[in-house]
Subunit: 746 residues, 2 copies
Amino acid sequence: MKNIFLTFLALVLWGSTYSQNYTQYVNPFIGTTNFGTTNPGAIVPQGMVSVVPFNVTGSDKNKWDKDAMWWSTPYSYDNSFLTGFSHVNLSGVGCPDLGVIMVMPTTGKVDARIKKYGSLMSEQQAEPGYYSCQLDKYGIKAEVTATQRTGLSKFTFPEGQSNILIDLGNSLTNEMGASIKIVNSTEVEGFRMTGNFCYEGNSERPVYFVARFSQPAKSFGAFKKMPAMQAEEAWSSTADKFKYYEGFLHPVAGDSIGAYFSFDTKQNESVAVQVGVSYVSIDNARQNLEFESTEFDFEATRANAHQQWESTLSKIKVEGGTNDQKTVFYSALYHMHIHPNIINDVNGQYPLMESYGTGEVTDRNRYTIFSLWDTYRNFHPLMSLVYPDKQLDMVRSMVDMYKEGGWLPKWELNSKETFTMNGDPSFPVIVDTYLRGLTDFDVDAAYEGMIKSATTPEKDNKIRLGNDFYLEHGYVPFTEDYDRSVSIALEYYLADWNLGQFAKALGKTDDYKRFDKQSKQYVNYYDKKEFKMLRPKHPDGTFLKSFDPLQGKDFEPVHGFHEGTAWQYTFGVPHDVKGLIKLNGGGKKFTQKLQYIFDDGLFDMANEPDMHYPFLFNYVKGEEWRAQKETRRLIDTYFKNSPDGLPGNDDCGTMSAWVVYGMMGIYPVSPGNMDYTITTPVFDKVTIALDNRFYPGKTFEIVRHSKNKGNFIQEIRIDGKPVNSFFINHKDVVEGAKMEITTGSK
Amino acid sequence: MKNIFLTFLALVLWGSTYSQNYTQYVNPFIGTTNFGTTNPGAIVPQGMVSVVPFNVTGSDKNKWDKDAMWWSTPYSYDNSFLTGFSHVNLSGVGCPDLGVIMVMPTTGKVDARIKKYGSLMSEQQAEPGYYSCQLDKYGIKAEVTATQRTGLSKFTFPEGQSNILIDLGNSLTNEMGASIKIVNSTEVEGFRMTGNFCYEGNSERPVYFVARFSQPAKSFGAFKKMPAMQAEEAWSSTADKFKYYEGFLHPVAGDSIGAYFSFDTKQNESVAVQVGVSYVSIDNARQNLEFESTEFDFEATRANAHQQWESTLSKIKVEGGTNDQKTVFYSALYHMHIHPNIINDVNGQYPLMESYGTGEVTDRNRYTIFSLWDTYRNFHPLMSLVYPDKQLDMVRSMVDMYKEGGWLPKWELNSKETFTMNGDPSFPVIVDTYLRGLTDFDVDAAYEGMIKSATTPEKDNKIRLGNDFYLEHGYVPFTEDYDRSVSIALEYYLADWNLGQFAKALGKTDDYKRFDKQSKQYVNYYDKKEFKMLRPKHPDGTFLKSFDPLQGKDFEPVHGFHEGTAWQYTFGVPHDVKGLIKLNGGGKKFTQKLQYIFDDGLFDMANEPDMHYPFLFNYVKGEEWRAQKETRRLIDTYFKNSPDGLPGNDDCGTMSAWVVYGMMGIYPVSPGNMDYTITTPVFDKVTIALDNRFYPGKTFEIVRHSKNKGNFIQEIRIDGKPVNSFFINHKDVVEGAKMEITTGSK
């Protein structure tokens, strides 16, 4: 099978020059400090495998240690002690999981202790699909690249005994346990448990792998940390130490196990290892490895990965702007193509949602890692616009999850629902996709899944907490300290509004009316008298007395809200901004309050609930300049071409999608609403290539005419005609509109 | 396949009455205290599986704890806290290994903590192939039985939630690590690492299993002990606790894992579980389980096991004697049929010696657990006489090990050489078997293997330590404190004498002369001047100065000897007793010295080196009465119908073989020497059924005519003719001799 892949690879390379038009503007180190939780590892777009330098354990020299705090990412730019390259990883996620199948090169005598085999790292380089660094302790150059389902590492060794360890103990996930079996001197197979997402999780699952080396090992073996012996009488030279099983070809299982392969290398001799992964079985991991075999041609594999990124990033072409701005933009677009990632093996098999069976897809991809509470806001609308084929497969995957597991996903991780975050965030994703014209999925099943989630009584409802009270009284009541009641209900309102829109589109008028009405009940939380904000409410209809709108800053516990203050949620009704304005006393008062949030530092760029706030000024005639001002300020302040260049967790590309939109000058304020609102583009020209399989237009262009230095919009023309609105409809966009924006100092 | 087995089972039962002629005299509790290290578990003769109550961990109420001392057995009669039934076990061994695949019934909420789920036990009952007890904590009756490769457990529960745990963390072996996968509500599969024999070992290997339940579990899941979290910041409700994976059908691996199956039982409802085992693969374990399926018919399975024991024990019929004497005798014969045990699966596959491949036998059994330094002395000669088919398969297995692994075995454990104990103990076993007329094995390969071991220079010799010096100078020199030099060399002399006898029988005269000469070199150690004993010798030929013949009592460290004093080794030349007598100054001085050993408490019945001593009196004319006196005293003193009824480790049936011979009144003083020496039988009549496929005679009978109360032999007749010797040749025995012994008070 491998020849098929290599032929394909050759064709790809033959058919294109090795260009760097877009990838030159990707800095994979962006977001690798400041809790961005991205990493500079090697991956192809939506790849199952990423090969990530793992440097968050084993040394006091590291600033961040995975075991010393809530640490959710395998890499930090602030750290320097490398203990290997992990092969399945989460990027931009705020909870730890995965970070396993660790491959580490060393020299000299094999030592399986992390603290002993780890090395200081230097000379890091990263580009899409490629990462390299120097291992100072050993004088090893490590280079890694990837295919969709395999990682390829090339280690250039000094002269002498050189080793490659596969350590299945070392991990980011707090789940433990693995099994490994050396097949022969060039191959090893096994599985590693993952899960314990957010230190609890529901995501326990083995990930299977097969690794092959580019040359036979001179010697090899397994290792395992032995338990301490309890008494002096029972002695053993390996008690509480690593035991080495030289030449061992049986399986070895345990909490802290691995295998080593040793080579007798000449100066600067390279040994490569390719690791195939599967979530179904070792057999599938081997099939993946064989189908995507690189035959250890590192440069060809790297070039192929590179080319995939060029092709992906080229869908949006920006002109003008500084190199740093382009880098912020394309790095964000890059980060949008890490998750959701494929989970189907080359034979089409994938783990069924919430069961232990195996599904199969043939003509499409099955996706996983849906951080939907984040991504519904902007990520999926952008995928729908620019990558409709991928977005459709993502929606198909979500609907399949409903068919398989009985519920639409909320925060899905490798076919397991983790129940992380709030609400019913699959609704806005699916409905938004449908309304954008991407309807080729099982619409009936999707609708059925939504109705089930929206209407099932609480005791049988796996997704909607507080549903009984919500359905009867229109809000989720505050019932205990630090509950998330308002945050939860706001998600329901948005979901129900989307469901209503879906019903309307499908001609289900009664459902439309019901859910549309339900979506407006957020007014229940509005405290007209005292705070004039959304405020937690008791079951008896009275507001929470000990209400402090500032409570919840910096992720401190807060009554009624989740990961934010009341300020950051009080305009959390993107589907009914007009109603919200009215509720807040009209445009002027609304604008004042909104501006107050920005001026008083109440806005939080690092999390999702208020990320649409700056665009809300556009809903008040004459106040649009504030949106232009605030968005540009936020972009310039929080999004940088540097490791701290993201304001917080990337949240599977949500933060990145925000800046991609922001820099293009459009933003989809509410999923399900087909209007993009308009602000000042950072670039002189933005050209989005439209996929003609889905959309009639060829490109959507945004052209900025800068009269002078100012960033304020003076005129907007669509296809040459001036428009009197700061909104452009999706229909115009996909029909291939050209939007011209003239800017000046006001 | 299972129907074949059941048909066979039915035939066996149909063809015989359910008799207790012999099994009524087996007390499986003999040897279960006083370091006998046997156990009362259920097993069939030479079964791969034994189902053993495991009560050596988890409670202060236990007298002996596996982790608090060098503890080598899964059970002690002194203990009372049961934590399950282990399915592969060593019996009568002085080093721990195996004791895994633990099945434990509980009630109520599942708790995977050993200390919590363990229970006090009572009402123990054991008979060959059956064991039962009451679990006081739960009111559960546990009953276990076995087939060759499976264990069948039946648990009778009270009303309510009843559980069966399969705990792969709990074990006797100090090797850790396992993988488990629940297949469905009635089946679970996995493997458990074993090894670390004697706390070091070379015996690491997974043992595979498949378990099936007699009814679907109402609920089930895996469990795993999670690691402790290092910091307060990283919280998890399962840190340092057991995590339960309800309904989990993926594999789970780790150090301390298992699975639970819960049932909703009525009062006195039984649930049975059958566990199939293999050392090759899970597939083979399943084949074993299916072929030997009992269809959960506990009573039929128990009856079948019982019948196998009746059949096995019936080969020696004793008459007269007390019930206790018969019980000591048949329990010893029972203990001789635990190890070596079969390791071939029903499809004939078994793990190849010292490699990771799989061999296959079709027309015979492959045996394992060869504690040869012990068993060469008496166990194998008795197997040759009474169970020649089994003995031949054992020798074939040993020769195959040479072919597979390059060396004849020394202390083989599940196809791994553990290098335990000293010398070259396969030689006496193989040669003795051959000389007894059991020649249908690959004699050339056996001879080749012996020559290789005897002549390969030390640096390439895996078996013979000190071989270079030994070959050149005729002894192994004392080179460091507490070395075993003399003990090692004594083994070589005996091995070489046997090799000489083998060469002679094969017409290889030069080899015969060479090795026979070599075997007499024990005289090198004889200190004529000072101690008149065998004494450690330096490389320069001088004797060890700090020599203390009493050093080494009770397993204390000793210079030049192993697990014994110089006294216990100084007559360790069974192959040349005449030479030994001469060396010691003739019969009188020899007798005096030997008697001194007994009189002064220098003899150790608890270990092997001197176990032939009491019979040595027979080599001095007129002193035979001393042999009769001492053997009877030793039998009466050390072998009892009680848990402390063995003087020490049974050593895979060696201690038992000693008393079986001793009570019959014959003993093979030296393997390779076809003479049995004669002492007073305990019984009035002993009838050994001879296997006509191998031996011409039908039975060998020993009849004792007791003139009065005395135990001293007055006359010996063979086939009616008085003989003037205290020896009877194997040839006479297997031709069906009748030996009559007349005893009196002197």
